[in-house]
């Protein structure tokens, strides 16, 4: 029997290794898999390359992982926000690398990684510093820049419903990078609000088919980053 369910976040992230590349879902706090990230902090892997749209807030979740000096390099589109101090401090000190990628290019690179497309052309960033040293090419008289796929060892994703086969639904705008990150990772690790029986998700409304998912762990009352930040919580 196929059973992708894992007992808890600790078991789900147990085999992440030093130096791994990890996609972490979420746009701001929506879809941020805080419990999985905290389990990764506890687990201790370091020298990680993390791709995520942002760099976290306060001292929890992704910001806490960065604060714990586990991340060698961030690949993201928007590494600052009103409550984001951890990344900027380390970045200014030269203690963390940054690969800045336009948000749509980041999404498309991840989708390409999942879809077996090693490179593609996009009009985004043409003529800007983010296209420097990249191949550009003209099609029908318009310039495009070539971008490479982004694939990863693991993805940490937050979804809504999941079954033992890995089928997923998401909650509202927490969907964001989840579906494509599941596609692009060798092993996608997903925390869901609730695990249901196979068939408990209508085949028409499955957003991520289980083929893209490696592990599913139930986290019934996931924390919200903004609540933790407002409470002044620091992890660990």
């Amino acid at each position: 029997m196929i059973d992708k369910r894992v007992a808890d976040p600790a078991a789900a992230v147990a085999d992440i290794k030093d130096g791994d590349t990890i996609l972490i879902g979420g746009f701001g706090e929506a879809g941020s898999p805080i419990e999985l990230i905290h389990a990764l902090i506890d687990q201790g892997a370091r020298d990680l390359v993390v791709a995520s749209n942002n760099t976290g807030n306060g001292q929890v979740g992704l910001a806490a992982l960065i604060a714990a000096k586990r991340v060698r390099k961030m690949i993201c589109s928007y590494p600052r926000s009103s409550n984001s101090r951890v990344f900027p401090e380390l970045y200014r000190k030269g203690e963390i690398e940054l690969e800045l990628v336009p948000q749509g290019t980041l999404a498309e690179r991840i989708r390409a990684g999942g879809a077996g497309i090693p490179a593609f052309f996009t009009p985004s960033s043409v003529g800007t510093v983010l296209a420097e040293n990249k191949e550009t090419r003209s099609f029908e008289g318009r310039d495009y820049v070539m971008e490479r796929w982004l694939r990863a060892d693991f993805a940490l994703v937050k979804a809504e419903l999941g079954d033992r086969l890995g089928n997923l639904t998401y909650n509202k705008s927490a969907r964001n990078f989840g579906p494509i990150m599941c596609m692009a990772a060798r092993t996608a690790i997903v925390q869901v609000s609730r695990i249901v029986e196979p068939g408990g998700i209508d085949p028409e409304v499955v957003v991520t088919p289980g083929v893209f998912v490696g592990r599913v762990v139930e986290v019934p009352n996931a924390a919200h980053e903004s609540v933790l930040v407002a409470q002044g919580v620091t992890y660990p």
């Binding site: 746009f27 701001g28 706090e29 929506a30 879809g31 749209n53 589109s77 928007y78 590494p79 600052r80 926000s81 990344f87 900027p88 970045y91 200014r92 940054l98 800045l100 990628v101 336009p102 948000q103 749509g104 290019t105 980041l106 999404a107 498309e108 991840i110 989708r111 996009t122 009009p123 985004s124 960033s125 043409v126 003529g127 800007t128 510093v129 983010l130 998401y170 909650n171 509202k172 705008s173 927490a174 969907r175 964001n176 990078f177 989840g178 579906p179 494509i180 957003v207 919200h224 980053e225 903004s226 609540v227």
Partner: protein, 226 residues
Amino acid sequence: MSADLTHTGLTREQMARRAARDIPDGAYVNLGIGIPELVAAHIPPGREVVYHTENGVMGFGPPPPKGEEDPELINAGKKAITLLPGASFFHHADSFAMIRGGHIDFCILGAMQVAANGDLANWSTGAPDAIPAVGGAMDLVAGAGRIVVITEHVTKDGAPKLVETCTYPLTGRAVVARVFTDLAVIDVMPEGFLLREIAPGVEVDTVKRLTGAPLAVAPDLAVIEA
């Protein structure tokens, strides 16, 4: 240039109201963070506009009442939103397929600088200690149907934001079609900036002096109905 700061001009709400009149009925619209967000409240009666936010929502509505915010229902500015009937959710690759693929008709962005050829700089000062953050701006200017800018005419220090050539790192080349400022509505024409409309009580010479590039004046120059 402190004297220039005393010029009469539009409020942010008035700028937003003027920009809103440019949005055609039935348009799919993406509003940047800041003043552009104010535009939604000013769509003229009788027009239906569908709002897209790049984090995966089409058809959202005004912010919810205090206390009813859902941390998993937010816009690109990470602010709580509501849904209108006919809304939909989709993942980030599909969301930027909408943008890059030319499906978003109208995009209103903020700006640090707009050049006379339509170049836009709105993501980085390029300062060595700045944390560069681009978000979806480069995708929006590359893909949206019509890109307009809402911005104060000058910086807090009084320096022109409409310039001959951008000194900040670019968001995109030759992408801006029109600029709405507190002083004027200015089009980016093949020949450069063209003053189309002017705020009530503001002199053309004032606008010219506060613009960092040559400014032609439309023969049918109008006063902005603020």
